[in-house]
Amino acid sequence: MFSVSRIAIVPEFSSSVLFVEAMGLARANNLLLMGKQINANEAVSDRLVTEIVRNCDQSGDCFDEQSIGYKVCNDLDNQLLSLAHADKTAKVRN
């Protein structure tokens, strides 16, 4: 990463550490030094993204890409139920 400091350019928001941890030095440099734009599939393989939310699921239900926030919120709400009850479980156990 010395070349980064030599040309006075600094990756922001701890990305020089976190990107390397996630995807390795070579891929991180491709993004941060070369300014390569990557797509959703590459972002998943680079471990920058957990999952791609497909426009249409297997049942044929489709959603507008711009409303991914709402879809993720609702999915998360179902999946976080166990987390919400974790504190109560902990109290019973204690």
Binding site: S5, I7, A8, I9, V10, P11, E12, F13, S14, S15, S16, L18, F19, E21, A22, L31, L32, L33, G35, K36, Q37, I38, N39, A40, E42, A43, L48, V49, T50, E51, I52, V53, R54, N55, E65, Q66, S67, I68, G69, Y70, K71, V72, C73, N74, L76, D77, L80, L83, A84
Partner: protein, 173 residues
Amino acid sequence: MPHKDDIEGKSFGSTLKATRLGKRCSILGVALHNPKKKNSFTDLQYEDLIRILALAGKEDSIDAIVISGQGKYFTSGADIGSFFGLADYLEEDETQGAILKTPAARFMTAMIDFEKVLVAAVNGPAIGIGVTLLPHCDLVYCTENSTFWTPCEFFLACDFFEITLLVTVSSLV
């Protein structure tokens, strides 16, 4: 049961839209909203996000925050205009710590310190800080057509969180 409170009802200017979602209204959906500049991060937006992270962190009824973008872009990155404000902070305080007082750095610190579940839902192109904030999230989802780009070297302009670290490290050598 719907739970209205100051987080949802509070005005965040025109930069954010916060909505409680889910059956128990425990998920706070935060949409970046700066349509004229494709959701770029201005100082005002940083300040509003800092406030909303602080409020949600204290609010027991909120389990998670989901950050997304309004419209076709997730974010076009830091507003270039906000870089010029850095000089003001450095004029007021010439110590190395001055950089940590900028809205961008305080937002980054607020994200790192946020103790609940933090999720990014990338709805389109993510540029600059829109990409570099992703590793700080617990979960990251994106649409099929999302793209990720960190064009720091083209503008010779970056946010300054890491610079502070480098300055500190280099001063120790």
